[in-house]
């Protein structure tokens, strides 16, 4: 044999060059077959070698009939194969063994023992472009063969070809894997319930997720390439926007609340986190901004704040009420105790003076009477507040009740002239008689109490089918402007009342108004001014009739009653 390559090789190579294969596998198989044919060796293999695991994996195999029949996928112990001769050698040179069993070096090689069916072997390393050792391209035959340099040259060329293919396949696989990961990440970003916006370092939008579309009102197509500053930053936040860019330029991230602007110009409070996105070498390539709409959160917080403020106010009001109530109760107790102690002292001294005793005991009675009233009022207020103010409503003759109270009233009305109108005919409405009486007594007592100079007290009861109206007028100290409502608050006595040192805790009107309201009605006070008297009007928009089954408008006359003098 000369130095020229056998004529068939070129044909083989050009055949390969001209072919296109559906897959790498097909190409590899074609190469092996061609190889086997050209070399006259009945089996050809591409193997991958993993020296640490002593592994020699047959990746692809061609076995002609009569060949050594080693299938693709076989995993052999490297040390028991002739491939190890390649991998063991320092220069990774081709290995040619013409007769394995009679060769002086190789007949004692472990492979000779392990693979007695192999008579001849020719193999070259498959080297990747970075010089790393991948595996072998080899051909074997059961019979000894004559092996030439040209044959190993062909193998080397084919091995390079296969190496390129292997690398390309790996790259493709890697790219596919990366793409899949990217796809997964994109899907994740899309599904995240936050707006994820990615821009380049100048703020031009490169990514705008679904939530961003929803939140800001811009669709992805509209914003890609646009400047984030012009899209989501309103004039109010331009300062913060500048600060954010500065921090990012300094390599830091920014996090905080931001008033973001939507496409339609409306704003919403957002919580924003802006960070730099860097490449593998740590160079910033863009900015990732994640923003969430915190309107709900703000609303909840504001709601909580209001609720808390209201609760605190309610507590404060209650504390004030309790404080005043305790003061009001302790004073008469103190007066009674003081009187009792004084009398005891005079008894012990042996100087009981009947006049003093009379006075002192009288004071105790007055104080305890007052206490009783205060306690009742406080209990009423307490019940009103807790909603346990039971009303036992039944048809009641309001006229008779008013008449009763006006005529029989307490001694305190002795100095006043009482005029009553509108009580001649019955005025029947469904009310709680005890509570209604409570209101009438309260109004009459107040009229007398707050006109200490005497004068006339006019009482008018008006009875229409749509409702009843009770008006009580006095000519007393009146009400300063603006206090007409305050007097109905617990302890809300007008300044001029407390100034003239009139007794009373200031709960009566509060209770009376609540009773009126519990009947669906109202209680109002009017006064022309201080010193000009007061008019109290109780409205009860209830069905009223003049007697059971009687004519709707009975005779109504006027009746006057005079008390005392």
């Amino acid at each position: 044999m000369g130095n020229a390559a056998p004529p068939g090789y070129l044909g083989c190579l050009s055949a390969l060059a001209g072919s296109s294969f559906a897959s790498s596998r097909e190409a590899t198989d074609a190469v092996l077959r061609l190889l086997s044919d050209q070399l006259g060796m009945r089996s050809g293999f591409l193997t991958r070698i993993t020296p640490q695991q002593n592994g020699n994996e047959v990746l692809a195999a061609y076995n002609a009939p009569g060949g050594c029949d080693v299938p693709a996928g076989a995993l052999l112990p490297l040390s028991e194969t002739y491939c190890s001769v390649i991998s063991d050698s320092i220069d990774l040179a081709p290995v040619l063994i013409e007769a394995t069993h009679t060769d002086p070096i190789f007949r004692i090689h472990p492979a000779s023992m392990a693979s007695p069916h192999i008579g001849s072997f020719i193999g070259v390393p498959v080297l990747l472009s970075d010089g790393s050792f991948y595996g072998t391209l080899c051909a074997v035959d059961p019979e000894p063969r004559t092996l030439t340099r040209h044959q190993s040259d062909l193998l080397v060329v084919l091995a390079r070809l296969l190496a390129t293919q292997i690398e390309r396949d790996d790259q493709l696989a890697e790219r596919r894997r990366v793409q899949e990961q990217l796809l997964l990440q994109v899907q994740l970003i899309e599904q995240v319930a936050a707006a994820v916006i990615v821009t380049d370092l100048e703020g031009r939008v490169t990514h705008w997720n679904q939530h961003a579309e929803r939140l800001y009102g811009w669709s992805r197509e509209e914003v890609l390439g646009g400047n984030i500053g012009q899209l989501t930053v309103g004039p109010a936040e331009s300062e913060i926007a500048t600060e954010i860019m500065e921090r990012l330029r300094a390599g830091q991230s920014w996090e905080g609340e931001f008033l973001a602007t939507r496409r339609d110009g409306s704003t919403f409070p957002a919580y924003v986190t802006d960070t730099l996105a860097c490449d593998a070498d740590g160079h910033p390539v863009g900015i990732v901004g994640v923003s969430v709409d915190i309107t709900e959160r703000e609303r909840l917080l504001a709601g909580e704040r209001t609720a808390r403020e209201e609760a605190e106010e309610a507590l404060r009001v209650r504390d004030e009420f309790l404080s005043i109530a305790s003061h009001e109760l302790r004073n008469p107790v103190s007066a009674a105790k003081g009187s009792a102690q004084l009398l005891l002292r005079s008894l012990r001294r042996g100087t009981p003076d009947p006049e003093r005793m009379e006075r002192g005991l009288g004071a105790i009675v007055t104080a305890t009477d007052r206490l009783a009233v205060l306690i009742d009022d406080l209990l009423d207020v307490s019940r009103l507040r807790s909603g346990q103010f039971p009303m036992r409503k039944r048809p009641t003759d309001l006229a008779a009740l008013v008449h009763e109270e006006a005529e029989s009233g307490s001694a305190s009305r002795g100095t006043h002239c009482l005029t009553i109108e509108g009580i001649a005919a019955p005025c029947i409405a469904t009310v709680d008689p005890d509570r209604f009486r409570q209101v009438v007594v309260n109004l009459l007592d107040n009229a007398v109490k707050y006109s200490p100079g005497g004068g006339e007290v006019r009482v008018l009861l008006s009875c229409e089918p749509e409702g009843a109206l009770l008006r009580v007028e006095d000519q007393g100290i009146g009400l300063p402007h603006g206090t007409e409502d305050r007097i109905f608050e617990p302890f809300g006595r007008a300044a001029n009342a407390t100034g003239s040192n009139l007794p009373g805790m200031g709960l009566g009107l509060y209770i009376s108004r609540r009773i009126a309201e519990a009947h669906g009605g109202s209680l109002r006070a009017e006064s022309v001014g201080e010193g000009r008297g007061t008019t109290m009007t109780l409205r009860l928009p209830l069905q009223v009739h003049h007697d059971e089954g009687g004519p709707p408008d009975g005779h109504r006359g006027e009746s006057e009653g005079r008390l005392g003098g």
């Binding site: 404080s323 005043i324 305790s326 003061h327 109760l329 302790r330 004073n331 008469p332 107790v333 103190s334 007066a335 009674a336 105790k337 003081g338 009187s339 102690q341 004084l342 002292r345 004071a363 007055t366 104080a367 300044a495 407390t498 100034g499 040192n501």
Partner: protein
Amino acid sequence: MGDTRRVLVIDDELGIRSVLAEALVEEGWEVQSARDGREALGVLRAWRPDAILLDLMMPVMDGWAFRKAQRGLPDGLSDVPLIVLSAAREVAAHGVALGAAVALSKPFDLDEVFEAVEQVLHR
């Protein structure tokens, strides 16, 4: 005049004013009363007590406002010792805050009141 010791009683409750006045007069003190801080200031224009029994919760001018006003009074009236007598909670704390000599809560014990007045007058 001379030895007679004087006490000003300031309280919005008529029953308390009369009890205290009667008790103190019985023990030989001279007593004037007022129903609120403003009336009390009026009394102080013409009459100088040796001690003041002061209620805190009163209309028109309460005990705290009175104390503030008292500090600005001339002729040593600002130094007339106070005995706070109140239904308010934390009477003692208020007493300290007001610079009172003694603080008593309501309902009071007459003997306590006498003791307090004696104590204050013998400073």
